[in-house]
């Protein structure tokens, strides 16, 4: 035991000898990285992630362009800090990516001096300025390394400079100014790189500190080309609310805005998840759930994507059938990887069984008996399913192009809305679909033509094969041509009498009304455009969308690619602390899983339950004011059913009761009151929530 010999007192830990072997065991059950489901999942997610990155770059490109232009253009006038307010929307965690993209871009193209400050740096003016100066000057070190790499001769005297990187207490504006002047002494004023200060979170920063910060910076505007960029989560008026006139008059603000967060959501869904080339399809319920979280709670695209990530993982986790939800590149591997187990579970999928039962008897037995035949069937079905998904998305997008800008948007404005309608039920049967066509029957030629062009464009873009699609395309084209040419032909319409000219031989108001009604009933003969429109709409309704928009849930094997298990996702993505607390106290067996606390019905109180649970269940039965003595009596009666219930209680029981009550108070269920002696107030009402 020489290792424990020590002069000072100490505490020594000896790991048990078999720790290693035990550890290996425990890691074994967590060692999922080599399992098939995880590999499929990770491959799937990395492809999705790649696409997400691409899209994110494109989306924020516009704002970044504007800001870059602003930074390069803005002139530094004495007394005014040129600054940009960037209105980003309320979800702040999402902004970090934007800011890092911005700073990378500025660093790459314009100036190496960028300081990103967040609200925690603004506790005092001193800390804010020290951090800012340190960050602005720090870029020099990075610079130096580049220089050293390029030329060895200069490195010696440059290194001396590097030695003068300031101490923290020396990080103040006079040193910054002298450092800057020294560094760019030989450069022209207009060529000097600017100093960019980015405040990520305006609302979080203390207004008093920020005001002083601005005033101090404004003292140096003549000497240092400082540009400030402020991330504002709410509105521009927040700036004027929190800063005084003296501070704001030092700023020369420009306002910029990123796209509203809903736009990010729609874009991500449209471009990544609701696409035919995404092998993983979201069901309508799950999608609605996730978008609800987004719209109702947080506006966080980040959170939304994490939610989908969970869905993807959930879809694959431990599943034997969902390995078929492969990427295109994995197709071969996926089918080779199918073993008997997998095939058996695929056979159990409801939609597959339904499909089988629709086949003739002998074929069924053949498929069931031999696994190669079964594999072949599955392979064909999967191919059909993929094709059906492509067709579905293409034509749904066409429908979206057709109806998205109708008044009142019966089918929804966004693609995701129309998708969630169409994915589970046949959209052509829905009332809103019919409503859409009613409205479309009134559209003018100028409105209809661009829609048709857009539809054709969508159809053109996707390279769908198959005879039916081609014939539909040519038909649609011919309809379009007809409509376009309607006005060109000479019409031989006889001018109809306009109602104003029609003579009314009426004597009474009622008669006049009657005649008017009659007049409106008599149909005007349809003009050629109306005829063409009617033909087109009939074609669209009865042929184009009828045959193509088959809900995905009606296809065999759809469970493999479509994830719609909303219950499991909901439980994990939305925490319900009060409900969990209630369950824990009301039914401790749910969490403890002990035999002693099994409840036969909900209202039962067992003496074996923890004390706090007993007290809680008893307090549920009372009204808003609880008499402590009565409560104690009933507590004692539950804990010790054989007791006499008389006046002298066991001290131990009383102590246990006191502790349980204290715990309930800590959990926020009761609080003491002065209204009535020996009573406590109940703070919660209603059971489940």
């Amino acid at each position: 035991m020489s290792s424990t010999v020590s002069v000072s007192k100490g505490c020594f830990i000896f790991k048990p000898k078999d720790a290693k072997s035990r550890k290996r065991k425990s890691t074994n059950c967590l060692n999922f990285s080599s399992e098939a489901w995880y590999q499929y999942y990770s491959r799937m997610w990395s492809t999705i992630e790649k696409k997400l990155e691409e899209i994110n770059e494109n989306v924020s490109q516009g704002v970044l362009d504007d800001l870059a232009e602003f930074i390069s253009k803005c002139d530094t006038v004495k007394g005014k800090i040129s600054s940009a307010a960037l209105l980003l929307g309320v979800n702040m965690p999402d902004h970090t990516t934007l800011f890092s993209a911005l700073s990378n871009r500025i660093r790459a193209n314009m100036t190496p001096h960028v300081a990103i400050l967040d609200s925690t740096d603004f506790t005092t003016v001193r800390s804010a300025i020290e951090k800012m100066v340190a960050l602005l000057v720090k870029e020099k070190i990075v610079d130096l390394e580049d220089v050293e790499n390029m030329s060895i001769d200069e490195s010696s005297d440059e290194e001396d400079d590097a030695g003068t990187v300031f101490k923290k207490s020396d990080c103040n504006l006079p040193t910054l100014a002298s450092w800057y002047n020294e560094k760019y002494a030989d450069k022209d004023d207009s060529n000097c790189p600017k100093l960019i200060v980015i405040l990520t979170d305006f609302e979080g920063t203390s207004a008093r500190v920020l005001e002083d910060f601005i005033l101090i910076l404004s003292q140096y505007t003549g000497r240092l080309p400082i540009v400030m960029i402020m991330g504002v989560a709410t509105t521009a008026s927040a700036i004027h609310k929190s800063l005084s006139h003296t501070a704001t008059s030092q700023l020369s603000l420009r306002l910029f805005q990123s796209q509203p967060s809903v736009y990010f959501l729609n874009n991500t869904l449209d471009q990544v998840f609701l696409k035919q080339d995404c092998p993983f399809q979201l069901g309508s319920k799950v999608m609605k759930f996730l978008t609800d979280i987004f719209l109702f709670y947080d506006f966080s695209v980040d959170g939304f994507i994490k939610g989908i990530k969970y869905c993807v993982m959930r879809h694959f986790y431990g599943s034997k059938t969902n390995l078929l939800c492969y990427l295109k590149s994995d197709m071969k591997g996926a089918f080779e990887g199918l073993n008997k187990d997998n095939l058996a579970s695929i056979e159990q999928i409801p939609s597959f069984r339904k499909y089988l039962s629709s086949l003739p008897e002998e074929k069924q037995t053949k498929i069931k008996s031999s696994s190669p035949a079964l594999k072949e069937v599955i392979r064909n079905l999967m191919k059909e399913l993929r094709d059906a998904i492509s067709v579905f998305h293409t034509f749904l997008r066409m429908l979206h192009a057709l109806v998205s800008d109708l008044p009142d948007c019966p089918l929804g404005k966004q693609y995701r809305e129309i998708y969630s309608e169409a994915v589970t039920m046949k959209v052509s049967n829905s009332a809103s679909y019919k409503e859409c066509f009613k409205i479309l029957a009134l559209t003018s030629k100028d409105e209809l033509l661009p829609k048709l062009d857009k539809m054709l464009e969508i159809l053109e873009e996707c390279n769908l094969e198959g005879e039916s699609v081609k014939s539909l395309k040519s038909k649609l084209k011919s309809h379009r041509k007809k409509i376009e040419n309607v006005g060109m032909e000479q019409t031989s319409r006889t001018p109809t009498k306009s109602p104003s000219k029609a003579k009314f031989n009426v004597t009474s108001r009622a008669q006049f009304k009657e005649q008017l009604a009659k007049l409106s009933e008599t149909k005007q003969p349809a003009n050629p455009y109306e005829l063409a429109r009617m033909n087109l709409l009939e074609f669209l309704r009865d042929e184009l969308f009828e045959s193509t928009l088959i809900p995905l849930t009606s296809l065999p094997l759809h469970e493999v690619v479509l994830f719609d298990d909303v219950a499991s996702v909901k439980r994990r993505l939305i925490g319900a602390p009060r409900a969990a607390l209630h369950t824990a106290l009301n039914n401790p067996h749910h969490y403890l899983e002990c035999d002693c606390c099994k409840l036969s019905n909900d209202g039962e109180i067992l003496p074996t339950m923890p004390d706090v649970c007993i007290a809680y269940k008893l307090h549920l039965e009372s009204s808003s004011l609880i008499n402590m003595y009565d409560w104690l009596q009933s507590f004692a009666a539950v804990v010790n059913p054989n007791g006499d219930g008389g006046k002298d209680l066991d001290d131990q029981i009383q102590a246990r009761f006191t502790q349980a009550v204290a715990e309930l108070q800590l959990l926020g269920f009761i609080k003491p009151t002065k209204k009535k002696a020996d009573h406590v107030v109940r703070l919660t009402w209603g059971g489940s929530a």
Binding site: K80, D212, L253, L255, F256, Y297, P577, R578, A579
Partner: protein
């Protein structure tokens, strides 16, 4: 005399002050007053006159802006470096060290025939460092025993507000009058055009803006930004330079519209540029700038918090209970609380407890939602965004106050189909 003349030219309408300051500071090498207090509203030329005067005169001087001095060292070390150059790299972080350095320099005859001036701009900020700094500086001459040393304190606060226990000469810089402003702005004009033409412009310009601000910096900034618009019709030949009325008609709407943005620091920039950007949907229209985009539940919470803060708790039952008895809601809105009104308006938003907020929230919401963790976080995010403020530190039953006004809540409420006025008692 030369110095005075330059100063008169550079700073019109400040003759008296220049004379006084020159007499106090400009006579090099003589025994001088220990402390001069220069005060007056912002942007009346206090600092600029003093600084320029010292630049022109031969005095050893240092100007310190006290806003910058969040530590004493930041104030004292530059001063010590400027007044008594020496090789020691000693830290100067207390007045005692500073005075010692000055004394040493005085021993070495640094100030024997020269005035020595320390200017403390925005000297009210010195109080943040510690109570003793301002009195110590005010009596620095006495402490250091240098007869030629003067400390100039500049502040926009009256000297009487400070407890200065010493003899000082106060110099007041009054606010510019309208005519004086025109003179000053004419001197400071950036464009070289006819003086009379520019004065006409200023006359027109001040007629609009003088009611909003008298701050010279702000006016100067506004005047230079709008001048290009004013002069445009003359340059294009549409109007004659003498046609003041025509030019006024041309510029008036623009001036009046920008009257709202005085002091806001918002740079309207090039308008043609803006329009192009607006087409691309990136630069905001003023209305879009005001619109607040919040998640659905957060909007409800904001409205609920506003109502909880501006209504009495006892009216909740009348306003929000589904069946509140015989009284009609409409009558409540019209007739209630006549007496309370006057007092209520003065009290501002009241604080309310969390459970009251939830009660109102649920009654505003027409659907059931469970009280989940995400729902609870809405409140703290509203606090973080500055819409609510949390009072007290207690974990149990926290209290909140709404910081938003009706002008902010009403549009938000409209987007979720609520009419706030319907739920307001007063």
């Amino acid at each position: 005399m030369n110095i005075k003349k330059t100063l008169y030219e550079e700073f019109p309408c400040r003759k008296n002050q220049i004379d006084t300051l020159f007499n106090l500071l400009g006579r090099n090498g003589e025994h001088s007053v220990g402390c001069v207090f220069v005060h007056g509203p912002t942007a009346t030329g206090k600092s600029s006159v003093v600084e320029r005067l010292l630049q022109l005169s031969d005095a050893v001087h240092v100007v310190i802006n006290c806003i910058e001095c969040y530590t004493a060292r930041l104030a004292l070390e530059p001063a010590a470096r400027a007044l008594c150059p020496s090789d020691t790299s000693e830290r100067v972080d207390s007045v005692a060290t500073f005075a010692r350095r000055l004394k040493q320099a005085h021993k070495n005859d640094a100030f024997s025939n020269r005035s020595c001036v320390i200017v403390l701009d925005a000297c009210e900020r010195l109080a943040d460092l510690g109570q003793h700094y301002l009195p110590a500086f005010a009596r620095l001459q006495e402490i250091t025993d240098i007869p030629t040393l003067t400390v100039v304190l500049i502040s926009h606060i009256l000297p009487e507000k400070f407890l200065l226990d010493c003899v000082y000469v106060s110099v007041n810089f009054p606010q510019y009058t309208r005519n004086e402003l025109i003179d000053v702005l004419t001197v400071r004009r950036v464009t070289d055009c006819d003086i009379n033409f520019y004065r006409d412009y200023l006359n027109v310009f001040l007629g609009v803006f003088l009611r909003a601000t008298r701050c010279l910096d702000e006016i100067h900034h506004l005047a230079t930004t709008h001048f290009a618009q004013y002069v445009a019709p003359v340059e294009s030949g549409q109007l004659k330079a003498s046609d003041v009325a025509g030019l006024w008609r041309n510029i008036a709407p623009r001036l009046k519209s920008s009257l709202d943005s005085v002091y806001l620091g918002i740079d309207s920039g090039d308008h043609a540029d803006d329009k192009r950007a607006a087409k691309r949907g990136r630069v905001l229209t003023p209305r879009a700038q005001q619109a607040l985009d919040l998640p659905y539940f957060a909007k409800h919470f904001l409205v609920a918090a506003f109502l909880a803060s501006h209504n009495h708790a006892k009216t909740d039952r009348r306003l929000f209970a589904k069946s509140h008895g015989r009284k009609q809601r409409k009558r409540v809105v019209v007739g209630a609380g006549r007496k309370e009104n006057a007092v209520d308006a003065l009290l501002g938003p009241r604080s309310f407890s969390l459970d009251r907020l939830f009660a109102i929230f649920y009654s505003l919401l027409d659907q059931r939602t469970n009280l989940t963790a995400s729902l609870m976080t809405q409140i703290s995010s509203l606090v973080e965004l500055g819409f609510l403020v949390r009072q007290g530190d207690g974990l149990e039953l926290p209290k909140y106050k709404a910081l938003v006004g009706l002008d902010c809540v009403e549009p938000v409420a409209r987007t979720i189909g609520l009419n706030v006025q319907r739920y307001m008692v007063s």
